[in-house]
Amino acid sequence: MLLEPLRYDFFVRGLIAATLVGGLCGLVGVYIVLRRMSYIGHGLSHAVFGGAVTSYVMHLNFYVGAGLWGFVSALLIHALSRRRGIGADAAIGIITTASFAVGVALISRYRRFTRNFEASLFGNILGVTDQDLAVVVAVSTGAVVLIFFLYKSLLFTTFDPEVASVYGVPSGRVEALFALLLAATIIASMQVLGVTLIAAAIVIPAIVARLLTDSFSTMLWLSTLVGSLCGLVGIYLSYFLDISSGATIVLVSAGVFAVALGVTTFRGQSGGRAARRTIAAGRTRTTAGPFD
């Protein structure tokens, strides 16, 4: 029965895309969660939506327009949040909601293309084209290469951004590259997950991995694996249950989180306790980290 949907090309493309996007979000999510900036994923995905609509209106390539918009938004948030009197949470709120509002305003002005953006908002795995798939493959490969070569610098700037720059790590450049990676991840994920659900796909696998390990390197591959599996299982369930792919993937991830939390709570693992502290801290400081 599991092989039955594989007869359809659109499903195979969707399956590959969902698995890769799940892994990509899981990989990038480790840094997002450890920087306690979970809200940036949510905010930036909304900001990118504004870029997507604008690029459509201006007849630009979606990926170029939205990508540039997302990257600039991430950098603006970074710059604005460093100004005294403007916290990171306010910076994210201002930039991303203003950006999202641009998209909404343009859609309301040009009502005729409203339907084109339903996929961006809610995800449409069945509509994944070869170009979408190529972008997902390229961004996933780029993410692995970037994280491989920036592993030490990214780890240091995530753990201790102030001291990292003292020790010769080019924090500004590393942060800019990470902002670029985050924007690219969100754009690559939009077609599969939709703007409204990307944040969960970024955060949940990383939190699940954190519950299960105290090692950073293990957390990286575990989060990637959890994200990929949730994408894989989610897309199958989406097909058989005939519900939105993005929602299914996120619900599967949420289920895995609930199981991991239950298991670690039951076992009383120290790693679990630490992660629950991380989750608790994340609730109170959801936007802290390098965007402080």
């Binding site: 450890l34 005294r84 009197g85 491989f148 070569f149 592993y151 030490k152 610098s153 780890l155 240091f156 995530t158 753990f159 201790d160 102030e162 001291v163 990292a164 720059s165 003292v166 020790y167 010769g168 790590v169 080019p170 954190r210 390990t213 105290d214 090692s215 950073f216 293990t218 957390m219 120290s270 790693g271 630490a274 992660a275 502290r277 991380t278 801290a281």
Partner: protein
């Protein structure tokens, strides 16, 4: 005794020079009119009340405070350390932040924390080279935390945690070691161990500058004290600066200094009075 005074260690080569520096954050000056020289081989402590600018002084050296006037400079070149070594550029700084600022839930081991010290200079690969790994192992052994290399940083004692972050600074082979309240929260034994370790490192030629609230420990261990409260109130040996008058001006409170031979004990008057009253009550009981 208020500015640009010799370092007390006998060394005369300045390493860092503050020239009428005013600095702070967001347009507000935390430090003003700071003129100070830190000499090669000096072992100095900065004391002062909370908010007096101790950490800001360290951050000024690190280039992380906004400068509103004057300057802080490193000298152009340092003399070679050890026979046959080439002359080295200055400004190689090891920094140990306050442990209170560390995210103890972050999933890293001692080994990973220490290897961060080489993040900018150990090649593009995610792992350390063989020579760097050997150095790291030797350093951890020397600091007495070799057995903890694979442990999560949260699982160490306070003294071991301090040593782990000290190792991260030392693996860069710094000329200048800056420590922000390295004895904060440590018990008496750990405090003395840390200060003895820093004295040993200083004896090997590393210039050490630390901030602390622990007046009695620095009086016993450090040869040079800088009293700070927005400006430099005084600097000199503990004998010179640990007087009721200077400490009173530094802390804005009445301070009691008791001298017993080489021993200097400092307390604020209120605490000293309470102790005396408590002792009297205890004797009466």
């Amino acid at each position: 005794m208020t500015a640009a005074t010799s370092g007390g260690s006998g060394a005369e080569q300045p390493l860092v020079q503050f020239e009428d520096l005013a600095c702070g954050y967001g347009g507000r000056a935390v430090l003003d009119r700071i003129s100070l020289r830190l000499y090669v081989g000096q072992f100095a402590g900065i004391v002062g009340p909370s908010g007096s600018g101790k950490t800001t002084l360290l951050r000024a050296i690190l280039g992380q405070a906004e400068v509103y006037g004057g300057a802080v400079r490193f000298v152009d070149q340092l003399p070679p350390r050890g026979r046959g070594s080439a002359r080295r550029r200055p400004g190689r700084v090891g920094y140990v932040p306050q442990l209170e600022t560390v995210d103890w839930t972050f999933p890293v081991t001692v080994q990973q924390v220490v290897s961060m010290g080489l993040a900018a200079e150990s090649g593009p690969w995610p792992w350390l080279g063989r020579e760097d790994q050997r150095r790291l192992g030797a350093l951890l052994d020397r600091l007495g935390i070799g057995d903890c290399a694979r442990q999560h940083i949260r699982d160490l004692s306070g003294g071991q945690q301090q040593r782990a972050f000290l190792a991260r600074a030392l693996i860069r082979q710094p000329d200048l070691l800056l420590l922000d309240e390295p004895t904060s929260g440590a018990d008496i034994k750990t405090r003395h161990e840390i200060l003895h370790l820093l004295a040993d490192l200083n004896a090997e030629g590393i210039t050490v500058l630390l901030t602390t609230h622990d007046l009695n420990s620095v009086a016993a261990h450090l040869p040079w004290i800088i009293c700070l409260n927005g400006r430099i109130v005084a600097q000199g040996s503990p004998d010179d600066v640990f007087t009721s008058e200077i400490l009173g001006r530094t802390y804005g409170a009445e301070m009691v200094v008791v001298r017993e031979g080489d021993l200097i004990l400092v307390s604020d008057k209120l605490a000293a009075t309470r102790s005396t009253e408590a002792a009297t009550v205890a004797r009466g009981a």
